[in-house]
Amino acid sequence: MSLFGRFTAKKRLRAAARALGKDASAENYVVLAREYIVVGQTRDVVRVCEEGLAAYPSHPELERLAHRARQLYQEDRLRELATELEAAPRPALHREYCELLLEGGRVQRALEAAERWRAQTDDPESLYYLASAHAELFFDGRRSADGLEAYELAVRAAKGMPQDRRAPRLQFEIARRCGAWEEARRALARLLELMPGNPALESRFRSVLANCANAVPLARALHDVEKSGKFVDDLPEHAGDGEPDDVRALLKELASPFEVRAAVFLRGGTGLVQGAQGATAERTARAVREVLQASRSAARRMALGRPLRIEAEGAFGTLLVSPGDLGNVGVWTKGAVAHSTRTRVAQLSGSDDPGGAR
């Protein structure tokens, strides 16, 4: 930014701060946050957005700005940390680097960073971050190998850091989510040794103890999670979903373009098909369900995590399948899938695929 640009930006910043002082509205918080973005002070953007969100919770623009600013701040900090780690690696920097990566959901990079840390120093804390990264991969992809690796690394980290609560907490979380109650009890007992008399832990210990009668070994519990794709504490599939009337209307809209041959909505054991009739409709719905089933288990086994979108292109056209929170949607088109169709599919399925409507 030029000297003149910097001068005018600072002037606007002061004016925005004064306006906020006079009238602390959400719009003025947004204006001030934007002015901080212009001068590149990301930390101040986060601060202003958090202050604004405290007064106006869930204001969409403030939330968006805060999220973006946090991302930018993390990026800046990660760059700084990477440079510092090259020059003078030390545990505090490694810790912050791994934590920022895990917070930002960049698990693969966190895994690589923790691996480098372990290779450099063999610090038991690096084992904890390795375990955390594997645990994140397990919670997301439900692959038993990731879960087992995470648990074993957490056990080793706990041995290396006997006074640290993080590793037994992680052990407990992994064991609890897959229903390995005996391992969960052991981890809780260790946590109680570190925090004697903690009422929340004691009550958890009692409930876990009650489940121990039906405990399965960890390896078996992890295998069951991989096979079913579900944790013991998962809500039933599509527990809170939209109205069926909305689904029908959206499905009709989805199948209306000329290039769409059929649109399918699957929820539980029921399928709604628009655009195809009779045996063709049934065949299409079955094909979508089979594609989904095959892809779910394959994605887990291939360490790819949760399927967000499946696309098959061939002489038959394109089949796009989108599993989501509201249901599973499949659309069969004559050629390439149009952008508007992708948007409607993502809307109908409630998919969290960021590229679904690209």
């Binding site: 693969q108 095959a294 995590g305 967000l308 499946i310 098959a312 292109e313 038959f316």
Partner: protein, 192 residues
């Protein structure tokens, strides 16, 4: 064969590229190293530890081929032909499988990389594979040897193998005098 895949490794967001036979046997596997970002050849089990994909390349190839087959079976009632390109966008990466001549090209992408970005590079890779196979076929014909290309695509036809020589392309004689037909891409992969 590595040269066929190299342009794909230059596409941003690519984590692993491979050529796998239709039954899942890896022919060439190039895996991105986590530190340097360079692609390492893991075709013959080199660098034993799994790379960015955290899974042994041979298992990965078999699983991907299995998935492609399952998908082809699932969409079979909708069409006569199997899909030529399938993509699985998942929370920890994206897998794209492109059908090539007698083999499949697998590409694993980083999270957030759209598979659409690979459509043209993948078509180019398949075209390069076809050219390579054609040139190898011409070379084999020039030496009065059975065509590799013909052997590869017509599995029901009698295999053209000379039992009197071990140097024939497309044939090898086992210790007990039994003839084994190697994988069609086996020699090609070792040549490069």
């Amino acid at each position: 064969m590595k040269e066929v895949l190299e342009p794909l490794t230059r596409v941003s967001g690519v984590r692993q590229v491979a050529i796998v036979s239709s039954d899942g046997v890896p022919v060439v596997v190039l895996d991105r190293a986590s530190r340097s970002g360079d692609f390492i050849d893991r075709s013959f089990g080199q660098s034993g530890k799994p790379g960015a994909q955290r899974i042994d390349p041979s298992s990965f190839g078999a699983l991907a081929a299995g998935w492609a087959e399952e998908l082809a079976r699932a969409v079979a009632p909708m069409a006569w032909d199997a899909p030529w390109r399938i993509a699985l966008v998942a929370s920890q990466g994206t897998l794209v499988v492109q059908q090539g001549p007698g083999a499949m090209v697998l590409v694993v992408l980083e999270v957030g990389t759209p598979p659409e970005a690979l459509a043209i590079p993948l078509d180019g890779t398949v075209a390069r594979m076809e050219r390579l196979l054609k040139s190898l076929g011409r070379h084999a014909e020039a030496q009065d040897a059975p065509s590799l290309v013909d052997d590869r695509f017509d599995y029901d036809a009698p295999a053209a193998v000379r039992l009197d020589s071990q140097d024939q392309p497309g044939g090898a004689t086992g210790a007990a005098g039994q003839t084994h037909l190697p994988h069609p891409y086996g020699d090609i992969a070792q040549d490069h």
